[in-house]
Symmetry: C2
Subunit: 356 residues, 2 copies
């Protein structure tokens, strides 16, 4: 593999000195880009895109051709793992993902096993191809859903507004849910390790639905299993350290606990004040975030003002580490030029802050 030309993202994750704040955006390869829509049309479907390494590589690289982003992230979906477990993933147009089979009763839970990683080979092949095509331009991030977030989809069968099915299981049959979570944790660990072996230079765990849990239960049913994943992760590969980021949407109340999970960085949404987050955790981890994705609808001036606000909230980097990102995925309705303004302002403004 080619030597890395831009390691600012990796250095910031490890809280090493950097010349400016690195930036990438969750879901940066996505529907807001006309070229993405074109490739997706060629692929015929979302899974057609994700399961074909050539297409996955193409859409991963698209945002890097337009914007001066400091990292690439594998194009895939968090639901590839439960799909490999045999649950039958479907993407309905305008409806979001659905599973043909759910995991709700005792028999369904007992039948669940860690999937053969061979069924996910298309993901690892994509990782290797993207690494080659990146040619050392920026590092490549691999990712997975958290055990809890995957379980939400596996039990509900689809997105939910109240998580009634999985929470009924949690309160009524915690033993069944713990079993699902244990299997998910093993699967996620193997999945991320295979991505690392295939070439991922950092990994991220998306706990998109951790924030729907009650205080105390988040720690038991989500964070404990994320910790289990992290405990068995390959942390050095071919002589390079592989940093891990844990992002919990709505997890601002629990950043002290998340910071102690074994991750290098905590991803936070826009309800969190980054300066307070640093004070609460004593700079023991880096932070990734946390612009409201809707700020990208405010026009050039507002985008730059809000970007500066996030950087100012974080404050002088010192012993800390900051990776600029949105607080959630970019909206499909975002005008692409908004990203140009954002990346420009983050780099320009933070360069002063880092040298000043």
């Amino acid at each position: 593999m080619a030597p890395l030309k831009n390691n600012v993202f990796l250095r910031a994750l490890m809280r090493e000195p950097v010349p400016y704040t690195p930036v990438w955006l969750m879901r940066q390869a996505g529907r807001y880009l006309p070229e993405y829509k074109q490739t997706r049309a060629q692929a015929g479907s979302f899974m057609g895109l994700a399961q074909n390494p050539d297409y996955a590589c193409e859409v991963t690289l698209q945002p890097l051709r337009r914007f001066a982003l400091d990292a690439a992230i594998l194009f895939s979906d968090i639901l590839t793992v439960p799909d490999a477990m045999g649950l039958g993933l479907q993407f309905m147009e305008g409806e979001g993902p659905r599973f043909d089979r759910v995991v709700r009763d005792e028999a369904q839970v007992q039948a669940l096993t860690v999937p053969d990683m061979d069924r996910l080979r298309y993901v690892f092949d994509a990782v290797t191809l993207i690494r080659r095509e990146l040619d050392g331009k920026v590092p490549l991030i691999g990712f997975s859903g958290s055990p809890w977030t995957l379980a939400c989809y596996m039990v509900e069968g689809r997105g939910s507004s109240d998580y009634r099915q999985i929470k009924t299981m949690l309160y009524q049959r915690p033993d069944l849910l713990h079993r699902i979570l244990k299997i998910n944790a093993q699967a996620v660990q193997q999945y991320l390790n295979a991505q690392i072996r295939a070439g991922a230079q950092a990994v991220m765990i998306f706990d998109s639905w951790g924030g729907v849990l009650a205080d105390g239960l988040f720690q038991q049913f989500s964070l404990d299993y994320t910790r289990l994943v992290l405990s068995g992760l390959i942390r050095e590969h071919e002589g390079e350290r592989i940093p891990a980021v844990v992002f919990t949407k709505g997890g601002g109340m629990w950043i002290e606990d998340i910071a102690k999970s074994g991750c290098d960085a905590v991803g936070v949404d826009w309800t969190v004040n980054l300066g307070e987050a640093r004070r609460r955790t004593g700079d023991q981890v880096a932070f990734q975030g946390n612009l409201d994705p809707m700020a990208l609808f405010g026009g050039d001036e507002a985008i730059r003002r809000e970007a500066r606000r996030v950087i100012d909230d974080f404050g002088p980097v010192g012993e800390g580490g900051h990776i600029f990102n949105l607080g959630h995925g970019i909206s499909q309705f975002t005008p692409p030029e908004a990203v140009t303004s954002l990346v420009d302002e983050v780099h320009m403004y933070s360069r002063q802050a880092h040298t000043g």
Copy 2:
């Protein structure tokens, strides 16, 4: 009006000693009760129910006939105020509320005015009737949406998953949004004061969507206007103090700020640890909450265990005040007997804690 036989709720709000933790549930008069569904069928529609004081009174009292709740809350909807502004509220079956007209451009914002409170007379008539029918059994809570939460519906025209319209206005034309919020604050203040004059013994402001705002912007675009409402509220009526509760879904990060808004109690969702909330605010306010509504699907044993956990998290009442509630509205799918278990456990378990 008859003298109050049960003032435990009001005393807890004012952090005065109480023999046990009072309990009521957000949306306690609602679709999970078969008798509610029957009355609603008679009324023909949701607004037919809300706008008829006899029906509104009947459904307000229904949960009190079944459960030993310590407060009644006016049956109404937060969208009555924008409806009175002329936006044309519709409740579509299975779809949630919608407005015929939205407030998005400069002309629409300029045309907006504080509605004549006479258009909301049906609400105040319901309050007076309910007070009479309650006959001093428990106190009656009046309520309103917060200026920000009302604005979300007025600008979006309906519920939203990303709040793109109102946030585009916030980032691009904050002046327009501030104008809407100022008018909403005046309207909400007049609306709550009229409820107090009609007989409401406590008031609650629902900031259901405050939690979608970024840190810093929540304070400017939501809390500042809630504070404006509180600053002009009638705080004593006919010799009785009228306490005010502010509930912000997803507002756990900001309870220090909310506690300083002029309210007597802060309502919190289930992501908040009540013990930490007390430490963070130094017991300067009471707290209302915060069981996950989905815990009511766990069966008798889990309901009682989770209720005890909330009471234990709050800890010995001391100088504080705790009103037990859910962290959000009760689900329409809740089995009514779950509420019986919950109310019983809260009263029984907290009586030991308060005397022990």
